[in-house]
Amino acid sequence: MTVRVGEADQAPSFQKAALPLLEDAQLRKNVRHATDVITYKRGIVVGETPDWQQLRTAGSAIKAHTLRYLNEYLVQFEKACTAAGGHVHWASDADEANRIIVGLVQQYGGNEVIKIKTMTSEEIGLNEALEREGIRAHETDLAEVIVQLGGDKSSHIVAPAIHKNRSQVRQIFRERMNLPDLTDDPEELTAAARRYLREKFLRVPIGICGANFLVANNGSVCIVESEGNGRMCLTLPKVLISIAGIEKTIPRFEDLEVFLQLLPRSATGERMNPYNSVWTGVREGDGPQHFHVVLLDNGRTGILADAEARQTLQCIRCGACLNTCPVYRQTGGHAYGSSYSGPIGAIVTPQLLQMREAQSLPYASSLCGACYEVCPVKINIPEVLIHLRGRVVREKKSALDPEALAMKTAAMIFTSRRRFEAAQRLGRIGQWPLVSHGWFRNLPGMLGNWTRVRDLRELPEQTFRAWWKERAKNGGPIEPSTPLRSARKIAQDTGHD
């Protein structure tokens, strides 16, 4: 089995990739603006839902339950979908899924397909696989069109072109749609996309989509969207192929009543997104007469096997954790080197890659917990991040690894009062060549990785422990003399008030 997540296995570390992005003022402005708007809108529609927490609890429980009995529910889905005239395929990795889909397109004699935005297809590199066989894939979601025509990469799981502003979009459309007079009015840009795609919707006979939910009891698929490009792809072609991660399964039709409340409010800050489609197999006289579903593993069963990280698979891809994340909001999505960015990407990508690649991602977080707060299915992302950091360290194994060695030494010092106090004394004496105006700014050697992005205060002349002892000796409360004085001095020296 060869798991692939876009080109994440070859991506530079997050910390390295983030540096040039942080220099890109335009990108940061675009991302900040868009995430501010969406977070604000989400706040309003979540606030007006009195049973939001109860919905989260139910959503989380339904997903956890489904994962526990996933084999049963997948078999149920397969049976019901097949009975309704659909065909179900199983793909254990990206290459197998691509082979199946390319094979189906060739079998139906197509050299062109229209696509609804699907993160899973980006994960397996489907467009590239189709192109290698001479099949053209037309993205139809406005943001995906912007990304595809611009030769760019998606940077957000819900709004892939979040890093582009209107004038950048105009530039791409002007060149690639041959519309020299286009203005940067979003309405005009949208109208241009409508004209550009309409002909393709009416003509191309094969559609490819993802899935938001696979309904096990009826064998139905549900897709949530805004523009109607999804409905076009689901309804007009003769053939429809859906690629879905196995974790998209939910037990019953009525469970949608929970997720269709959680997802739109979390994803786009709407009470309901303009269109939700649910369909079951094929229906005579309405929509595609050939329907295929490809169930994808590609590393998911590995995540399922890790009890502490299994909750990762509860994700319904709303993107709320990206919009609220103080790290994502600074760097945007490209730094994550994967189709899945932000906090959820930081736990999904390395796990899909069996922790062998993308090992820097679990560290792309301040562990502030904002992602957990907004998650509609209560994935405790900080908890999983810490768990994965542990796995990264254990993966390194070697006892001679400098970081492992340092941690071991620290553990030895911190477990003994005598050693701890000795280390403090030693530090106070030894720090002077490294401190300037009360701060460590550039530590030497490997420790420099720490101070490259943060400043550290110098060790105070008197520790709390020493002050406490002095206080007891003098028989009662006293003014904290030295520490306070040195703190004041530092503030004056550096302007850090």
């Binding site: 603006h33 009416l202 139905s220 929970v258």
Partner: protein
């Protein structure tokens, strides 16, 4: 293909530490569902909420009585000078204005849908809390493409089809669960450029709801 299936199911089984005999159904019943199922608004407040939320997402709303429904439909179509209008198959004839020539859905090609001025359908249920109309594409509601390709969708909603909550809508449509189902909340829209909501991308740019009470 068969191999991948067996491999994946095996991997899942060993990952969850289960065995073939565990049955999900019994455990499923224990999932906590303390969220709001039934609404609490009276009929008038429920309709009021629906109208408010439909308008909030750019839907044009008209209220009328059963007797004056044909008149209400005619005046919307005349106001926008719509001439080529397609009526969904199975739409009750008494709903439609008699002096207006409708094209039947059955006779309309995809090209006709692309060039017509608008369409008329009914719906299965409407959700006040979210401002949504739900089609299960039975008689009167049209095939899926009918309410998708044309530029104006006029949907007739009866007051007794309006529920307050999403779960109530799901229990209403449960009998049609395996038909295609479409939730429509406002005209098609996008926020992909700077998160600015733009109405009318690929689906109908205009959505009219006629509420019959």
């Amino acid at each position: 293909m068969t191999d991948a299936r067996a491999t994946m199911l095996d991997r899942i089984l060993s990952a969850v530490g289960g065995d073939e005999r565990t049955v999900a159904t019994a455990v499923y019943a224990g999932i906590p569902r303390t969220y709001i199922r039934a609404g609490t608004l009276d009929a008038e407040a429920r309709l009021h909420l629906l109208l408010e939320r439909l308008r909030d997402y750019d839907t044009h709303v008209v209220e009328t009585s059963a007797a004056s429904l044909p008149q209400a439909i005619a005046s919307i179509l005349l106001e926008h000078r719509e001439k080529n209008v397609i009526a969904a198959d199975g739409l009750p004839a008494e709903m439609l204005p008699r002096d207006f020539a409708f094209i039947s859905e059955r006779s309309a090609s995809l090209d006709d849908l692309n060039t017509c001025d608008g369409i008329v359908t009914t719906c299965s249920v409407a959700v006040a809390f979210t401002g949504s109309i739900v089609l299960t594409h039975g008689p009167g509601e049209g095939a899926r493409r009918l309410s998708l390709v044309p530029d104006r969708h006029l949907c007739v909603v009866r007051a007794d089809q309006v529920v307050e909550t999403v779960p109530e809508a799901f229990s209403r449509i449960a009998v049609h669960a395996t038909r295609p189902i479409t939730f429509i909340s406002g005209p098609s829209a996008t926020a992909d450029i700077e998160m600015t909501r733009i109405r009318g991308v690929h689906g109908p740019r205009f959505l009219d709801v006629v509420l019959v009470r």
